[in-house]
Amino acid sequence: MEGAGENAPESSSSAPGSEESARDPQVPPPEEESGDCARSLEAVPKKLCGYLSKFGGKGPIRGWKSRWFFYDERKCQLYYSRTAQDANPLDSIDLSSAVFDCKADAEEGIFEIKTPSRVITLKAATKQAMLYWLQQLQMKRWEFHNSPPAPPATPDAALAGNGPVLHLELGQEEAELEEFLCPVKTPPGLVGVTAALQPFPALQNISLKHLGTEIQNTMHNIRGNKQAQGTGHEPPGEDSPQSGEPQREGQPSASDASTPGREPEDSPKPAPKSSLTINFAQKAKRQNNTFPFFSEGITRNRTAQEKVAALEQQVLMLTKELKSQKELVKILHKALEAAQQEKRASSAYLAAAEDKDRLELVRHKVRQIAELGRRVEALEQERESLAHTASLREQQVQELQQHVQLLMDKNHAKQQVICKLSEKVTQDFRHPPDQSPLRPDAANRDFLSQQEKIEHLKDDMEAYRTQNRFLNSEIHQVTKIWRKVAEKEKALLTKCAYLQARNCQVESKYLAGLRRLQEALGDEASECSELLRQLVQEALQWEAGEASSDSMELSPISEYDEYGFLTVPDYEVEDLKLLAKIQALEVRSHHLLGLEAVDRPLRERWAALGDLVPSAELKQLLRAGVPREHRPRVWKWLVHLRVQHLHTPGCYQELLSRGQAREHPAARQIELDLNRTFPNNKHFTCATSSFPDKLRRVLLAFSWQNPTIGYCQGLNRLAAIALLVLEEEESAFWCLVAIVETIMPADYYCNTLTASQVDQRVLQDLLSEKLPRLMAHLGQHHVDLSLVTFNWFLVVFADSLISNILLRVWDAFLYEGTKVVFRYALAIFKYNEKEILRLQNGLEIYQYLRFFTKTISNSRKLMNIAFNDMNPFRMKQLRQLRMVHRERLEAELRELEQLKAEYLERRASRRRAVSEGCASEDEVEGEA
């Protein structure tokens, strides 16, 4: 490097001189290079200008901003504006007192200008550009500091010691002119005026244009030379500089020599450096042929790339020059030719001996001239037309240029936008938090908070998961505990129920004992009976209180049973109250005892039972009773089995609408009985219950369904039971139809109740057969059982049995038919046979029979009697008995009718006789 640097001045010694020689005399135009350069650089490289990014702004809008910087020579101030086109600068930086700085650790291209008042941070696009700027600024500052002495005076004082500087000042114009090359070599398009709008190519255009001017100038010179020296044609570009070179040889060499020497010293002062650069630039201009050296000199400060670029540039320049020189040579050849022609013509003219010849010659010439004049004219015209087309072209070109300009503007604007955007993007990327605090910060903060939230949520989730796991285990534990407790509770309840049952039994036995004592003592021992009465009273009261408290706490049996019937019959008669209590207690004990042992297996069997199909097993199950949850389904099925031949869709609705259109004669009776149906059942006594209305519709529909029966008292009970179980009124209606029309014999509910009366006689026969002892006892006391049992058959025990037994009877009854009624009627007597046999008075027996059905509490026992003890019980026998008794009854009825008729006849005849004897009506009646 150093070698190259040292070599440079020597080899380039010829070049600078030539320019200085051309300049020194201060002769205006005929300078080839300085002239065209000056013109081309007027707008361009003279100025130090270009885009830089300035770091500035306040608070949140701090950031890098692209600014157009340009240097003002006169004030030594660096101005900057937003764009190159802006008329007024935004601000200025006083370079005179500024210090420049660039930091290694900073970003590429960042440098600082520190003035006493402030620090400006700037950023060039590349490191190269930054270095360029720094150098230039240093140089400018240096220039400013050195310029104050009047420029014209300095040239002579140049020898005073700061040679290079002096030299600079002398060749200031030249130096500046050479600056033109610097921007070309240094970051292309980044600095200089062209950077504002037109990048590099514009420069080339300009210089090409200049070549044309150069040629013209050369032509001018040649002519001048020719006129001066005749036909001397040497290339003027090479001639004249070289001729002047030696004169100034010393000065540039001196300056050159001084600079390399200083360089190694690495002086911190900017001045020598800048001068050095300028020197190199000068050298480059001066010696076109010494590229290597020049470039080598350059490489001291520039990179290899730069060097190549410079070389290429140089080659380009030289090629251009060569071309222009060749053209010049051509032009000179032409000029020479013309001159020779002229010379030849003149010599011919001179050679002509005679005047005539001369005249001829002249004439010839004149003709020639005229010819030429014409041609000139034609050419003129041609030229004009050409000029015209040229102007047109020019216009076109202008238009195109304008267009190009427009496009360029657009492009520029777009580029700017892109620049800004990309700048922003990079800023955002590089310094998200502090550099662009507005949106990115917000977004960032948002993002961060989101992330934080997510973290929180994750935490929460984990916590919840743990919690969930814990709670699951907790639930598991608690469930286990609960199950255990429930089991215990159940066991306790069972035990309790058992104990309660036992207690009930003991109590009932006690009460029964009291009752018997009371009866036995009668009126005899008044003291004893008084005591007894007291005991009974106490027992009644105490029990009532206990029962109520019991039922509140433990017992599942409330005042009403599951179908809404009162559990304790409401007997008003004092002596029966005791019995009612006893009975209720017994029912309860049986219920409690039966819960575990009987009901559960039954429930399981029912649950296991699939579709309902008539079978022996089903028959057994039905006899044992259907669990409540299955009863509606089972009854529906049973009813359907019986009425499917009668059942038509919409039938019930049709019957109802018929009832609405016209009042059935039975409607009044139905209405009368409606509120009197099951006064011991809450579903029929409650004012808000829907059951009475349902019942009315069912009964009315039935009265239309079967007009021969219409309504018979007792049907209300049947329908009510059906409603209580099935709930749905249409089902209840069909249940009623099934009982009346398919299960019961015909005429059971008709006007004469014939079949019912027949059944009473059948029952007498059956009782005589199955329970002969009892029947003998009853006969002895003249007790007519039909007074009691008639009701049983007509309403299928609805008034007689407690509901849980009643419904079991019905379960079997709906499946097996009237046989079941007989079986149970017999069973009821068998169940209470001993009690009845004990009674020795017809009145007592009647009294006992009035309520004894309700005292039956052990449904299993009753069922066993009905279906086991009463066997064999054949339908054939029943049918036969019915037939026999029907015939007998009908015969009796006929007999009765006959008797009636006879009586009426007798009475009529007697009345006739009496009327003759004027007897009173009373007497007649009495006699009758």
């Binding site: 009368l672 006064p679 008639f790 009145l843 009765l896």
Partner: protein, 195 residues
């Protein structure tokens, strides 16, 4: 010791006139608006003193609906007295009463004491049967007549007291077919026979 005479009394009358309510009031001194309609019959007893006797009424309450009439003979057979009830607010029930009277005259025990009770006299503002008509009719058949209200306990006791008075005093020469049943001597009539 006072003698106890057992008197079989049956209640007859149209449906819903209040037969059971009268019995309930008399026996239990209790009234329920909705007593279940009687099917067949219901049996109750009540003992009331009458003179130097105790009358134990064996009361057979019957079903009112007409189709149960065929069962009535079972109940009025052997009765010392019959209480025939009508509803003063229902003319129809008075016609039914007349039918019952006729039937008793034709098929009832001889010397049966008939008492006519015009029930629901608490509803006299909607009365359909004038007391006069009832009195005239009762007179014509030699029956006692009284308007009652089981609901308000009007004339219920009086009704049975009237019956008690109509029962002839215990006669040592009684023939035993006048409907008076003695405890010691129950009738040997076959209960099953239908008239």
């Amino acid at each position: 010791m006072m003698a106890i005479r057992e008197l079989k009394v049956c209640l007859l009358g149209d449906t819903g006139v209040g037969k059971s309510s009268i019995v309930c009031r008399f026996v239990q001194d209790h009234f329920d608006h909705n007593i279940s309609p009687t099917i067949g019959a219901s049996f109750m007893t009540k003992t009331v003193p009458c003179g130097n006797e105790l009358h134990k009424f064996l009361i057979w309450d019957t079903a009112g609906q007409e189709r149960f009439h065929s069962l009535a003979p079972m109940y009025y057979r052997g009765s010392a007295a019959a209480v025939i009830v009508y509803d003063i607010t229902k003319q129809d029930s008075f016609y039914t009463l007349k039918k019952w009277v006729k039937e008793l005259k034709e098929h009832g025990p001889e010397n049966i004491v008939m008492a006519i009770a015009g029930n629901k006299c608490d509803l006299s503002d909607i009365r359909e049967v004038p007391l006069k008509d009832a009195k005239e009719y009762a007179e014509s058949i030699g029956a006692i007549v009284v308007e009652t209200s089981a609901k308000n306990a009007i004339n219920i006791e009086e009704l049975f007291q009237g019956i008690s008075r109509q029962i002839p005093p215990l006669d040592p020469h009684e023939n035993g077919n006048n409907g008076i049943i003695k405890v010691e001597k129950p009738t040997t009539q076959a209960s099953r026979r239908c008239c």
